[in-house]
Symmetry: C2
Subunit: 388 residues, 2 copies
């Protein structure tokens, strides 16, 4: 169980299989976000058809509504949501910080007011693990604090030290053998703090490690050196998960730096707002041009929307405020990200990742490939494999 | 083309096949409404899976947005919407009356202000047919006026006479051989006026006839005698379409009286409002009871929602305002109506329609079967087939 088997390497990038109780997944992979027990607008059947593998559920949302006991009564998230494959749940920590009101952080845990009804709720490492065990995901996350950006250096240090103590508490109360607990490395964008968090976290030898505390407001120029620094110091033989990322360019840059798992609400959210992801960048379907275009959203895509609909039809649905519009754009955008990681995997397997990523970026950025992206590719190309 | 072949009879009820350019349909049938070129929330693939046959499109909505020329550029509604089966378009008359502002009705046609942008639009029999030819449905409807309820007897008479003159104009400008033009019989709930409309309409020998002007506010006790009166005077060998109807009980009563085709926004609209249709009546999924029920919406249903989800999960989606809720309830409700007509067809084929309909009604109305329903069944049981 939870065997992570690296089959191909190309620079820091790698293709692997990850075994979970609900099936094997191939990495690198993008995980659709099912915040409230549903990937917004899509059915499990559609997720399977577009190549989704692991689905993310949010502990914070599900514990507040409908409550983890109701999910447990369905046999956990697969029974509740009817998605038969593997799940990952976050610890609730990030959402408490971003959604909870009047939160109070102590050594014990976090107390906050529910964004739903204002009731006072507390979340501790022990409670987070208990909720995640009730939800029954294959991968569960250690309870952590994700400090805001910017934050004082001293605050980040105290926070990551507390997060490490919380990790120990998570580890000690965990009871289910069929769930993999991943630790989260914090430390913001400062290499010394990242190193400190690594030093406090790696000894737990959890079956996977996440990089947290990024994509919270810092620039890409600040973020990617921190990703590179952290990723290369994580165990080679275990999955690496860059939390809350990404946009298409983040997936390609992250894969270059040896990241295996990604999640983000971006594809479904931007789809609901009328934007379609393509190799030529983001297509604004709210404008007037698509209204008369008979070609599909993306002629290179094999999703249901691209196989059946013209841009003109989808633009009509958006103007008419028809539910099928956000559904189809969400479906396409998720398929785009799944196809993107599939193409990255193929390139890695062929030892051609750098060339593929550069060609992809030339087109996506319309010739103006940003420095941070070029730097991430260059760093990823250096082969200095850590062995642990 | 447009052959209507009655294969089974049971009282006034009948089972038939109706041949259209986009395929053969079996009647009685319920037609989902795709007002703006989409059955709200559902994909064509789902419509096919739940047994939809003919889809209704609204001339008024589609001519205003996106405009019939854009639909024609896609090869008509099947190309535009990706539903490969037969379509029926209404004439626009009903929607002009219900949605248009400051409408003015003359012998020439109707002038009204668009509900979208207030622009002045005119719709005439000639324009309605031209738009419907561009939309390309298999069945198109004659341009008519549907008087409100209540209306003065004199007004209804003048209106239905004008509708008959409009039918002649529709008939004379129609050019496409691959579209069947159905006439609409008006006359409100007055038998004399219904007879007058029949006398003016039947001579056109159109390939099908609709009963219009009902379900506009009159009681069921007023409506069903008018359905019975009109249906039995329509040609035996042509499809009969009861426009804008129905609820489950309307389908069963209408089938008893020899109706072959129905359409209504009810199943999708009530689904979006959180109600599920079942043999035990309408289930309110907004209440607190379903929140903890692990059984499906309807254990007798074979739709995706009933095969995969608990009531508790669907109730959670409703509370969380997740898009999957209206989608799944719409899917279930349409499947319920399709299953209902399928069961009615089977009962007719077995010569057991009356017994089946009575048993269905006992359960659906919880023992309190209303008089209008019993009367409709009794009337339908009388075999006095008209031959024309």
């Amino acid at each position: 169980m939870f065997e992570f088997d690296i089959q191909y390497r190309d620079g820091q990038a790698r293709v692997a299989t990850f075994q979970t109780p609900h099936g094997q997944v191939r990495t690198p992979m993008f995980m659709p976000v099912g915040t409230q027990g549903t990937v917004k607008g899509l059915s499990p059947q559609e997720l399977i058809e577009i190549g989704s593998q692991m689905i993310l559920g949010n502990t914070y949302h599900l514990m507040l509504r409908p409550g983890e006991q109701l999910v447990a009564a369905h046999g956990g998230l697969p029974g509740f949501t009817a998605y038969p494959g593997p799940f990952l749940t976050d610890s609730g920590g990030f959402q408490v910080m971003s959604l909870g009101h009047m939160r109070k952080i102590t050594e014990e845990g976090v107390t906050f007011k529910s964004h739903l009804d204002g009731s006072l709720v507390s979340l501790t490492p022990e409670r987070s693990i208990a909720v995640q065990e009730a939800l029954g995901a294959d991968v569960i996350m250690a309870f952590d604090e994700c400090p805001p950006y910017p934050a004082e250096r001293d605050y980040i240090r105290r926070s990551l030290e507390r997060t490490a103590r919380w990790l120990e508490r998570c580890y000690s109360v965990k009871t289910r053998e069929d769930q993999a607990l991943f630790a989260i490395v914090q430390g913001g964008i400062d290499p010394d703090l990242r190193q400190l968090s690594l030093d406090l976290t790696l000894p737990f030898q959890t079956p996977g490690f996440a990089i947290g505390g990024l994509a919270v407001g810092e620039s890409k120029e600040e973020m990617y050196p921190a990703v590179a620094f952290t990723a290369k110091r994580l165990p080679e033989g275990k999955p690496r998960y860059l939390m809350g990322v990404g946009h298409p360019e983040d997936l390609v840059a992250g894969i270059a730096l040896g990241i295996d798992m990604f999640d983000c609400v971006y594809p479904t959210r931007t789809g609901r707002f009328g934007y379609a992801l393509t190799d030529d960048g983001r297509l604004n379907m709210n404008g007037s041009a698509p209204r008369t275009q008979l070609q599909p959203l993306d002629p290179e895509c094999d999703c249901y929307a691209c196989r059946h609909y013209s841009r003109a039809y989808l633009a009509h649905l958006i103007r008419a405020e028809e539910m099928l519009a956000p559904r189809m754009l969400s479906l396409h955008n998720l398929r785009y990200l799944h196809r993107l990681v599939e193409r990255a995997r193929t390139a890695i397997m062929q030892g051609a990742f750098q060339a593929w990523a550069q060609a992809w970026a030339q087109r996506y950025f319309r010739g103006a490939v940003p420095g941070w992206f070029r730097q991430a590719l260059a760093t990823g190309a250096q082969v200095e494999i850590q062995t642990h």
